[in-house]
Amino acid sequence: MTTNLANVEQVHGARAASPVQRIQPPRAWFELRLAELWQFRELVYFFVWRDVKIRYKQTVLGVAWVIVQPLLTMLMFTIFFGKLAKMPSQGLPYPVFYLAAVVPWAYFSSALLTVTNIMVENQRVITKVYFPRLVLPVSAVFSGLVDFFVGFVVLVVFTLSYGMRPSFPILLLPFFLLLAVMTVLGVGLWLSALNALYRDVRYLIPFLVQFWMLASPVAYPSSLVPERWRWVYGLNPMAGVIEGFRWALTGRVPSPGSVLYVSVAIVCVLVLAGLLFFNRMEGVIADRV
């Protein structure tokens, strides 16, 4: 009996000394597990670092491509939508008007594609070692930011060269970027988990991105949407992001206003629901990916 007690005590002592993990069947629906993600923040960094490194190692054009791509897109928009279709641009020069939309949009569309495929691409790692799976989509969302910043520098140069001097709204730019990042994360969490379970999800992405671009004020200003429907338009968070970019950079167009409030609200819902869904699927992914 005494030895038994001693044993029990030792086990309890051990519990105090080293972390105890209890492994059991998945139960709770409401697990966000953000604390665990924080513990693994270095791994997020390493995945981002790997992605960026590989992307720039494998491409011949490297950084040049990252600069040329948004410029070419902007040029096409300026020629076809601006000069030919005479799209209203809220008083902004077309190059600035379009580049301010193309740069955040390029981030959104490429990051969404990366996040969707991230679980499948890392299938080997997922089935061989444990880390919170959330690390993967989160790192994919961040690794796209490197390209974004290169494009952003181009955007700033353009804005300044057109004689626009950003004022107070520029301080809100990080907030609009965060909104874009959270939009990718919120949607990406659903898509990456679904893509791991069903391989045809990835074929939906190009269509989704195309559809989404038409529903966002990339080629046109959101002022074309009637005032009373503006809040419905805000259900697309990228509308808030793009309008926000134009406003924050130039200060010459009206602030996004009601569109933005709806966008922020919908992004919060998306991210929360995405986290719950992703964590729910996490246990199944390693078995089915």
Binding site: Q10, A14, S18, I23, V129, R288
Partner: protein, 405 residues
């Protein structure tokens, strides 16, 4: 009295058999759900099977526990549950301490990155912090004997170099509990023994190791206690020598590989290497005279059949083959023994395939398992990727030769 660091209670894992069989497309799942909703939802209750059930285990601190069993007996699944890669369906496990798992060599390696970059990446994935990797970096590289190549992309490495670096990273993990699946069977024999030494060192510093291996000699040498899994159930647990002997006895008596149902007119049951110089049943450590035995159970007498055996390398290239026609076999267990004057192979994994055919119709054709490990010491110091298969001693002479005019 040492404390318990891993405890599992009635742990079980159930898989749905249909998962792999369906196309895995969302389109099809939706279509199926609409076209036959009853079957779609009932499928879940129909095609389930347990890969692991009722596992109750206790592992003490500082212990090296061996895990043995046939292919498909649930060893890897158990390791995956304990390392949290997959979740159990029932029961629970409690783990005291940081867990590191080593289910594959080179987890997270990317061919485009250099040795240095991969060391950091793989280390981080396996659970090391950045500072920790930086501190151990030189040690890892010298353990892998790759000082000159740290800044070369891993895609230019030979298999041997790749494996050495991958294992070196893993060997420098310092978790309190280390789960290892069959990864020690890599590299040449010198590197293997270096790895084994490292494992023993790990356990001596009070850390716990669970080791899965098919190499029973390795299990005997390293483990104090062994658990034998059979068809997902815990068959026997106890002192290493006792459990391994019981397992070996079972293998020889029934001789059946779990995945081979008893049927047909004749069936290959298992194979082994004979001869005194081999260290273990499926490990070839000599380049001298070698005997390979295949056990064939004949259920109906066979007249004038064809018997063939082929040795393949890892990429399934045939290396050696022998066939025999017009063979008569009575019912009962036969031992088919090939003796080769020498089998001079370079270290690596090779496999045997044996078949019996009756006038062109297959009686049995078996890709024999486990695969054969060759652990000879290479004679020539040639790069692994261009060395080929043969390990033959050779002499090199360079003499001045007069140009004949």
């Amino acid at each position: 009295m040492s404390r318990v660091v891993i405890r599992t209670e009635v742990l079980g894992k159930e898989y749905r058999r249909g998962v792999q069989a369906t196309s895995g497309l969302l389109r099809d799942s939706i279509a199926e759900a609409f076209s036959s909703p009853v079957r779609f939802f009932r499928r879940k209750s129909m095609e389930k099977f347990w890969v692991l059930r009722n596992i109750c285990l206790e592992v003490n601190e500082g212990e090296i526990l061996g895990l043995i069993g046939r292919n498909g007996s649930g060893k890897t699944t158990l390791l995956k549950i304990l390392s949290r890669i997959t979740r159990p369906t029932e029961g629970w496990a409690e783990i005291h301490g940081r867990v590191g798992s080593l289910l594959e060599v080179g987890t997270g390696f990317h061919p485009e990155l250099t040795g240095r970059e991969n060391t950091y990446l793989s280390g981080a994935i396996l659970g090391m912090g950045k500072k920790e990797i930086r501190r151990k970096f030189d040690e890892i590289v010298s353990f892998a004997e790759l000082e000159k190549f740290v800044d070369t992309a891993v895609k230019h490495y030979s298999t041997g170099m790749y494996v050495r670096l991958a294992f070196a990273v893993a060997a420098h993990l310092e978790p309190e509990i280390l789960l290892v699946d069959e990864v020690l069977a890599v590299g040449d024999i010198k590197f293997q023994s270096k790895c084994l030494g490292k494992m023993g060192e790990v356990a001596r510093t009070g850390r716990t190791v669970i080791l899965v291996s098919h190499q029973l000699s390795q299990i005997r040498r390293l483990c104090q206690r062994v658990v034998w899994l059979d068809a997902g159930q815990l068959r026997k647990a106890g002192p290493a020598a006792e459990v391994v002997s019981a397992y070996e006895a079972d293998m020889t008596s029934s001789g059946l590989d779990g995945s081979r149902p008893v049927e047909g007119r004749a069936q290959f049951l298992r194979w082994k290497l004979g001869g005194s110089s081999t260290s273990c049943d499926h490990i070839l450590s000599t380049d001298g005279k070698t005997t390979v035995c295949f056990f064939l159970r004949v259920n109906e007498p066979l007249q004038g059949v064809h018997l063939g055996v082929t040795l393949y390398d890892q990429a399934s290239h045939p290396l050696w083959s022998r066939t025999m026609e017009g063979l008569n076999l009575k019912t009962g267990l036969h031992e088919i023994r090939y003796t080769l004057a020498s089998l001079p192979l370079r270290p690596g994994v090779y496999s045997w395939r044996v078949g019996v055919y009756d006038s062109g119709v297959r009686v049995d054709d078996w890709d024999s398992l486990p695969k054969m490990q060759v652990v000879t010491v290479p004679f020539a110091q040639t790069r692994d990727d261009i060395a080929g298969f043969l390990n033959v001693p050779s002499e090199l002479e360079i003499v001045p030769s007069e140009q004949s005019s």
